[in-house]
């Protein structure tokens, strides 16, 4: 990405508090089956969803997408995205065919400079509820390298 296309530091900071539309998501059996297979695990018992679903289910359920999250940080074709961390908290296991209420927001956004790197650190936080009960939280922190 050229310097002309790089967002301003103020643009990045202004992302804090951005709320995604929110919505509901039901993890179908076929989706969990394929997802679990990708991990190299056997299928879990009693309709339990593989915990790796806590990456994409909150994102899609909150009414956004990985692509939109890239765009929010103005990641063009020449910008690489690095993962700082994923923080997953489970208060109950996820289950197939359960409709979860999901909300999501940008919880932190700032420009970082080191001796060798310039990047924007953007953190997203998603919450899953089932009939008012908090089921899980996912905090995703990415680096948008400039």
């Amino acid at each position: 990405m050229t310097s002309e296309a790089m967002p301003s530091e103020e643009d990045i900071q202004a992302l804090v508090g951005h709320e995604f539309p929110g919505g509901r998501y039901t993890i179908a059996h076929w989706e969990n089956f394929l997802l679990t297979d990708c991990t190299g695990s056997g299928q879990l018992a009693d309709g339990m969803v593989h915990p790796v679903a806590l990456f994409h289910v909150p994102i899609l359920g909150a009414g956004t997408s990985i692509g939109e999250m890239f765009k929010l940080g103005q990641a063009g074709p020449g910008v690489s995205i690095g993962i700082e961390s994923y923080d997953w908290e489970f208060y109950r296991p996820l289950r197939e065919e359960t409709e979860y209420d999901i909300s999501g927001r940008v919880s932190a956004a700032e420009r970082k400079r080191t001796d060798t790197r310039l990047y924007d650190r953007i953190q997203f936080q998603f919450d899953l509820h089932d009939q008012g009960e908090h089921v899980a939280r996912s905090t995703v922190t990415w680096h948008y390298r400039r």
């Binding site: 190299g40 339990m48 593989h50 915990p51 790796v52 990456f55 692509g67 890239f70 961390s85 908290e89």
Partner: protein
């Protein structure tokens, strides 16, 4: 089962990280980042000729290790950092070590350091997990 700090979690091995699984994963995630399915993009970034595993897939190897040890549904928290990519064709071993055993809200919790091991490199993923043995 008496678990103590310093105990090793039995390792879990992913013999061969497959590009085909990355492609399926990309479709499920609706992940448009081509490094997971287009080798030419990875090559253009100067990172070699192999596609890059999705971060959550690397993380899932830790989950599989913890499930095999403590039972499905054991996971309470997983915090992972990603110092380096995992590539297709990698042979990966998930490992862990108990750092604390504690009680919270009447539940016995076990904290662990967890990491992925790849021969000849530093751990590509590392972090911490909190679990409760299924049935506790």
């Amino acid at each position: 089962m008496a678990i103590q700090p310093g105990d090793e979690v039995p390792p879990w091995v992913m013999e061969d990280v497959l590009a085909s699984r990355m492609r399926t994963m990309a479709a499920i995630l609706r992940d448009p980042y081509p490094v997971h399915w287009d080798r030419s993009v990875v090559a253009g970034m100067g990172l070699g000729e192999r596609t890059i595993n999705q971060g959550p897939l690397g993380l899932s190897y830790m989950v599989n290790m913890l499930h095999a040890w403590a039972g499905e549904g054991c996971l309470r928290r997983l915090v992972m950092r990603f110092p380096a990519p995992v590539f297709e064709g990698d042979h990966i071993t998930a490992r862990g070590r108990v750092t604390a055993v504690r009680e919270e809200n009447g539940e016995q919790l076990i904290d662990c350091d967890v990491w992925l091991e790849r021969e000849g490199t530093a751990p590509p993923l590392e972090g911490s997990a909190t679990i409760a043995f299924a049935g506790n």
